[in-house]
Subunit: 338 residues, 2 copies
Amino acid sequence: MGVVIQLDSAGKKRASIEPLVKLVQPDMERVNEAILARAQSHVELIPEIANHLINSGGKRIRPMLTLAAARMCGYRGDHHLKLATAVEFMHTATLLHDDVVDESDLRRGKQAARIIWGNQASVLVGDYLLGQAFKMMVETGSLEALRILSHAACVIAEGEVLQLSVSQDTSTTEDAYLQVIVAKTAALFSAAAEVGAVVASRPREEQAALESYGRNLGIAFQLIDDALDYSGSTEKLGKGVGDDFRERKITLPVVLSYRRGSKEERSFWKRTLEDGNQTDDDLGYAKKLMERHGAIADTIDRANHYGDIARDALAIFPDSPWKESLLEAVDFCVARAH
Amino acid sequence: MGVVIQLDSAGKKRASIEPLVKLVQPDMERVNEAILARAQSHVELIPEIANHLINSGGKRIRPMLTLAAARMCGYRGDHHLKLATAVEFMHTATLLHDDVVDESDLRRGKQAARIIWGNQASVLVGDYLLGQAFKMMVETGSLEALRILSHAACVIAEGEVLQLSVSQDTSTTEDAYLQVIVAKTAALFSAAAEVGAVVASRPREEQAALESYGRNLGIAFQLIDDALDYSGSTEKLGKGVGDDFRERKITLPVVLSYRRGSKEERSFWKRTLEDGNQTDDDLGYAKKLMERHGAIADTIDRANHYGDIARDALAIFPDSPWKESLLEAVDFCVARAH
């Protein structure tokens, strides 16, 4: 990652993910070992594909949430390691299935597994990792964690199906869009954080607080991702800038630009995203329209709104380095866009 | 189904699945209700696809095993209904993902979901049903059932990946082939039967007996399926005769014919199944080679061997109509080939 504390132009300390990364490091090393161990199988293709994804430099933000939430709640056992590993496997399985669904060529800047090994292997290795995730949850003996994470698995799949049905529809409302990202992204963030309180046997109030923190952080995270897809650099993003445009995804910057645009502009969005009729200059023009209507700035604004809710959700917890680092993680997620 | 007790040419009563179907009927009606209820979602595409598969006339043999095993063990609660529903959902999810992996056009004689709704929806609705399956298991509160079924989910996926890697390799050994079907078919049969004992809180010995019964029945079932693909009628099979040949699957009839064949015959198998270079006459010639080497008869023989093991596994249970019907189900599975 190499994100260091920097001063921004106003001389303010820049938000960083480093404090969180440092605090969870000892736990995360054990999670990384578990990830490698649990992706093993006598069927060679499974560890091969799993390792390709696992080593491709994801930030592991979801398992970090589980680890930090459990520690903030004072947990001293090691079941949170299994839950964190399970959460990362659920995420990895989703990525594998997503690539098949999206027909993506790149994943985190590397060739997608489906390009190297085919759609078939991506579907099946995803299923395998999902099965392993449930096995690990069972090992913790926590029916409540199982309930939360199996529910999240349903909601994520529902969100993906919903995305299919709104895809390439430029008249998608902001609400419909939000419904999709709450399900496909925020559900796992919220479950990941919530099970931290569950494993620590904390009262329902703290469980709900972490659930809310995770959900709102997840929404903010996805909104910023969507903004970066039009404003970031490929290097920073680990995927190609303009991927969403080329894949004709309807994200908030598009939703806002379409609604605020003229009749001619709406025709442009319909042609490029609904009809899929794109020329080389279209991405540049799309960015110009977004700038004209403040669509990127307002997407970041919306992200800030959810970030605020995430921060407030943690207010009931006493001060601690864990809490501090979880709060700063929110700032970092939102600040990525700058 | 309409399978009735018939006399075969020797005047012996023909094995039937009807006694089992009748005994489980009251329970199965509730499972069918649960299947419809749990395949609901506010995302319309999900019940649409799920109902397409659910109503397409599968025999529901796996949930029947759970129901009958639990009842044979004297269970009087209703958690077995949830486990049976979960088992059928796991199976349905596998079918959806299988169709994507196999690129099948037909499923149980109807258009495969992936042809109507696309690969994307098949992958995601499969994921949704898998999530629902785990939610239902959690509701029973049985960590042991969760352990057994999540383990089965891993083994099934492993088996499918293994099948990918042996596919189109005519020199596959009988052992390698068995390893594939033990994983991809028998694992769910065995888990389905085993959780019947678990939900009834029966001793480990009975749990192991049902696990063995289910596994060996599953192997026999798959072997007969593979034989029928070359010897059955499309009507009886619910899929096209010769599908395995056209999809270049290596099944036991092929493994035996290849091993027992001449050099010229091996070239035929290599051309048609490895190179995928098939003409209209090839299926007929393949059947002729199988007949020449007794490959179908011996596949059925092997199935009988596993059927015997399945029957013996139930010996420790006292006589009851439930036990009778489970024993006759084995005979029925094997007798399908005649």
